[in-house]
Symmetry: C2
Subunit: 191 residues, 2 copies
Amino acid sequence: MNSFISPVPLDKAYRLINHGPTVLVSARHDGVDDVMAAAWCCALDFAPPKLTVVLDKSSATRRLIEQSGVFAIQVPNVALLRLTNAVGGVSLNDAPDKLARCGVELFDIEGQPLPLVAGCSAWLSCRLITEPHNQQAYDLFIGEVTGAWADDRVFSNGRWHFEDANPSLRSLHHVAGGNFYAIGEPLAELP
Amino acid sequence: MNSFISPVPLDKAYRLINHGPTVLVSARHDGVDDVMAAAWCCALDFAPPKLTVVLDKSSATRRLIEQSGVFAIQVPNVALLRLTNAVGGVSLNDAPDKLARCGVELFDIEGQPLPLVAGCSAWLSCRLITEPHNQQAYDLFIGEVTGAWADDRVFSNGRWHFEDANPSLRSLHHVAGGNFYAIGEPLAELP
């Protein structure tokens, strides 16, 4: 955890994922925490903010979400490249010590029942909007964003500032097989 | 159009959008073509490849897709920054000459009934999987990818090669209000 975590107004929350980063999904139920990586997470609405995330039926995190009805989406960064790849490569079903093994440090915000991953660049708490057909047929889950926070060294005043921040805070964009790009440079604002 | 367009095997098609680029959505029905920009497009499945895209009810492109049942998703690049911003800012409903005004040049591939945008870095043809509840309640559309192509100067052998290509071919990642980042540098492959 760091001391640079600032709340993000809900009407700006979509901006945390609008540029398409690979995310970490975390959930807690009955004393069990899990964290997985997901490249397939996407904004769905502005107000109230919603998002989609694809969760395979084999995922232990998915089971926790179905049980608790809440989850967190967080935006990992270059400093968490190894962790992000690691939590995407092993299941809690096979390794009860997955989180320790992957070097995941968890923290809470404002007493929410969500295990948040320390060191990310942004965090979104979500309430599951249950849609059985989507979940069963497509592994597609919809969440309403109920809270948002960011590391204010890289996101402030409703904007990412990757270009002015330490490169270790840049978001990760997975292609396949452990091959990631970092987000790059801003493009000139258009009139 | 350029002469560097190569087919991408369907089992690698998800890689064209896995890193979260902002896309262009195009469709044709009854002699009418339209193109819009969408940051909310996401892979949904590997085989057969599927994707989701969020299309507002006010969108003329959406109407064409609902009528024709097919659409294209394409990955624009830095060279198309102005075009991408332009087609995202005006509707065919208000400006029948939208495409000309925005500088959009269309082409066909393999006789498909789809207007593809010249100069992009990748193209995916899609068949709409009709899901009335998702479309009505969430503006969420699901497509099955039926064909994929890429500019082989920047995507070949199943991989993006942004770092070796002309920077004008890098994908665009919209944050908000015309503020985009380009995709950045590859991160060291992990063991």
